[in-house]
Amino acid sequence: MTAPAVGHRDSVTVKMLGVFLAGAAVSILLGVYGDTHTPTGEKPYNLFFTDTIQLKVWFATAAVALALLQVLLAMRLYGKLKWPRTAPSWLGDAHRLCGTLAFLITLPVAYQCLWALGFQSTPTRVLVHSIVGCLFYGAFVAKVLAVRFHGLPGWSLPVIGGVVFTALVVIFLTSSVWFFTDGPAGLPIF
């Protein structure tokens, strides 16, 4: 093996390590904050919804819808989907836009979660929601960095993106879906 090849491999390893550590740091920081911060239990905003919980449920639903669209666009970008036959030039930008909007929509939801409720360990649904909520932002940061760093292995972006999407879906399942199905409020209302 030549010296430049070894150097390149080391560089990739350092970048991957940096991506992983940055994501892990964000997740851990959020978890520590949620655990140590004294929850206020307050509802800082509800916009045009009847209550903050409705805002959170529908914002999370919108975020998942956008993320799903982003995954479909990614699959077209990677050639896993063949439709449309000719990929338009704006497909990559649309992919970025969906992800950015999904992220933006999650911010007021997560803010209320962290600030008003904190990291909770009971019941199991809430524990999973708390852990995966922290994981989501760490994975998101990792994905943003992985996009910016060039020369990473081809599998890295799909894997990290998959983790981000999976985390968002788990968050959605343990909050919005619970609210829609088993929550005391029953049917989805605005």
Binding site: P39, G41, T100, L101, Y111, P123, R125, D182
Partner: protein
């Protein structure tokens, strides 16, 4: 090209929003007068375990209103403790999540500090 610029602009907005979000989390530490700062252990337990559904002041949200009503609904405190311990309808069981002493404290808090 224009679309790309719009997306770039939105990404910049997202970065700024994320920074503001993080700053607000740290800067907006609860001040005096909040339920969680009321001082009693029951208040802190209530804020982190009950306020999600029953509201910060027990005014009700997903779960029923507690403030001013719960003591009348459960004249015998043991009945309320049983509901918190075992759960009922949409309310989860807190057995295992909270100790008996913590359940006692939060029940006492809802019956007194929130208004009986």
């Amino acid at each position: 090209m224009t679309f790309k610029r719009i997306v770039n602009g939105i990404e910049v907005v997202a970065v700024i929003a994320a920074l503001v979000w993080a700053f607000m989390l740290v800067a907006n530490e609860p001040g005096a007068g909040n339920v969680a700062d009321a001082g009693s252990p029951g208040a802190a337990i209530f804020a982190s375990n009950c306020a999600t559904c029953h509201g910060a002041d027990g005014e009700g949200s997903l779960g029923p209103q507690l403030a001013g009503k719960v003591a009348a609904k459960f004249p015998d405190v043991a009945d309320q403790i049983a509901v918190v311990t075992n759960g009922r309808n949409g309310m989860p069981s807190f057995e295992g999540g909270l100790s008996k002493e913590q359940i006692q404290q939060v029940v006492e808090y809802t019956r007194t500090a929130l208004g009986s």
